[in-house]
Every structure is written in structure tokens, then in C-alpha cells.
Amino acid sequence: MAVDREQLKLELKKLIVTECQKDLRPELIPDDAILFGSGSIYALDSLDALQIALAVKQHYGKRIDGGNQTRMALSCVDSLADFILLDKTD
């Protein structure tokens, strides 16, 4: 399971870089780096959030809606991986 999770996180980093057309190497994004907001070095905004949310739905079948709990999934790569693996680890 641990290997799957690491693999998933790398996939998510690649997805973020590709979908948001960021000019950076996916593997250099720390797992716990804040992705959005003024405290983030990646300068992603609400449009990027929607883009990532739709890509996550497309690739992993998980819907990130407007609710606080699911919205928090987009905080960092770690939380996004947790969100995707949530049902699978039940």
C-alpha cells in the first residue's frame, strides 16, 4: 500500500504540473507544500483548482465538490492522495 501511495503522489504531481501548465519538475513539489493561496510558491488560483478537480474526477473517479471537507483535499499533494485513497483503504 505504501508503494501505491508514493506512486499516486507522483502521478498527482505530474497531473498538477500538466493540467496547470506549470514550468517545473513534478518530483520537486514537496508532498506537504501548500498549492493554493498567498502562502504558496506555486501561485495556483481558483481556476487551477477547478482544472485539477475535474482532472481528478476524470482519472480517479473522485469528485471534489465545494464542501469544506473535500475542498481541503486540494491543500497539498498529501491531502489529495488521502482523499483519493479514502474509500480504497476502508
Partner: protein, 287 residues
Amino acid sequence: MTMKWLAVSHYFCPVNENTHLPPLDAAVKSTCREPFRRVDRFIQLALLGSARCVQDRILSPDCGIYIGSGLGPIGNNIETQQQLIRDGEIPKPFNFINTLGASACFYVAKNLSLNGQNYFISRRRGSLQAVLSAATVDLSLRTIRQALVGVVEEVVFPVSEHRLRQGLRDDVALAEGSHWFLLQADESGSRSMVTKRFVEYGALEVFLKSVWCVGDRLCCASMMGKTEADNIQSCYSVESMSDQFSAFHDSLEAAWLASCMMSHEKGKIFLIDGDSERGWSLFYFGS
């Protein structure tokens, strides 16, 4: 109306089943004045062509932008329709935003720090004439002092489907391109660009005879009335666009004009368009 052309750029890339579209990311990054994201291939083509045309020039901030295209940002439109209809999903925001051809205008303006007129005109087989005419009107009215005029066409894979959409035979090769002209309201010196409108074909013929010289080049637009095009072909050394560009491109006129202007050969370059209903337009460029 006489004005001056300051610069021209020409990107033309034939495409078929056995080729891949060359990635444009690196070229766009090295040519543009600032990095961009959320852009699709159509916008990349527009950014690349316009940046190559302008190079290091500082344009007048009110310079107008006029982008023409036969097909427009077709790749993004297909992707958005697939997301909506085929997959039953909400389209991704970047795809949705860029379904508008005017998105390309926005990015070109941002790259060059322009805030003048900004038009996107889509017209099958006649986009060059449409944008040249619009720019000419604004330059003649002195709404703007400079105009950056471009024509952009993209190809979407698979090529067989792209052909099908355009009603082209299987053996027709395709091309994508981005062709740009920088014009200025200035009647002095060389590099002139003259546009004339004629209601009657006869008047166009008389005028053409009066200015035509050996070595000049002429081309009839693909939307031009056939009888008159045949007549002109019999009287002048008309160049066939399809002879020069073996691959089909919805805006071959733009490809032809830009390549002629970049060849630096002596002689004027004429482009004629029109029919008995629309009237006649003559664009000619002096070196």
C-alpha cells in the same frame, strides 16, 4: 488607402498521418516576452507568429490586433465538446475559456503590452482578406496608428478526422500555420501596402493594367468569382497557391502573401478577392 508594412513573419508546417505536430512550448517560451500558461496550440501558434513578426520592436500601445482564421481554435472546441457530450462532464476551465478565438488575441496583446483594438474574425477560406480589410478601415480612420494582422490555422489529430471535417480527400496533405503582418498608417517611403475597393470588375481590371509591371506577382483568393479569376489568370502571371504549398491550409492566401513578402524578390505583390455581389478588393504590397 496607402500604408506601410513594417514586418512580416511566416510559420507553415505541413502535417500528415506519419508526422507529429512539432511541440511549440520551447519556441514560444524563447520567443515571447513573458511566460504563459493556460494556453492551447492555437494560442501558441498566434503567440509564436506575432512575436516573430514584432521581434524587439516597441509598438505603439494602441496598436490594433486582428487575428483571422478559417477554423479557429478547433482543437479546444473538439475537446470541450467531447467533455460535454461524449463524457457528460463539465468541461475543464482552460479548455472552455480557450474555445473563444479571442483568447488568442488576449495573449498576443498581453505579450506585447498592447491595449488597442482587438479583433478575432473567423471566415472560411477568406480570413486574410477579412482581417486586412478591418485593419485598413481602422488605420484609415486613424483609430489606430499600427495594426498587427495575423492569420492562424491549426491541425487537429487524427488527420483523417480533420480532413473529414473539412471535406477534403484522403490524399490531401494538411498544414498548420501562423502568418503575421505589421502595418502602420504611414504613406512615406518604401514597403507600401495599398488597398482598393471596386464595385465593378471592369474598374479593377483597368486599375490593375495601369500598375502592373513585369516581375510582379499576383494571386486570386480562393473565394473569388471563378469567371473573373479565369480572366485574370489568362492575362497575368498568376501564381497558384497550391503549387507553392502542397499541403492544404484554410488560409493559403496568408501563407502565400507572407512567403512572397519574406522572399525579398523585387516587384509588387497583388492579392485580389471578390465577386459581383461583394464587390472587389485589391491588396498590393510594394517592396
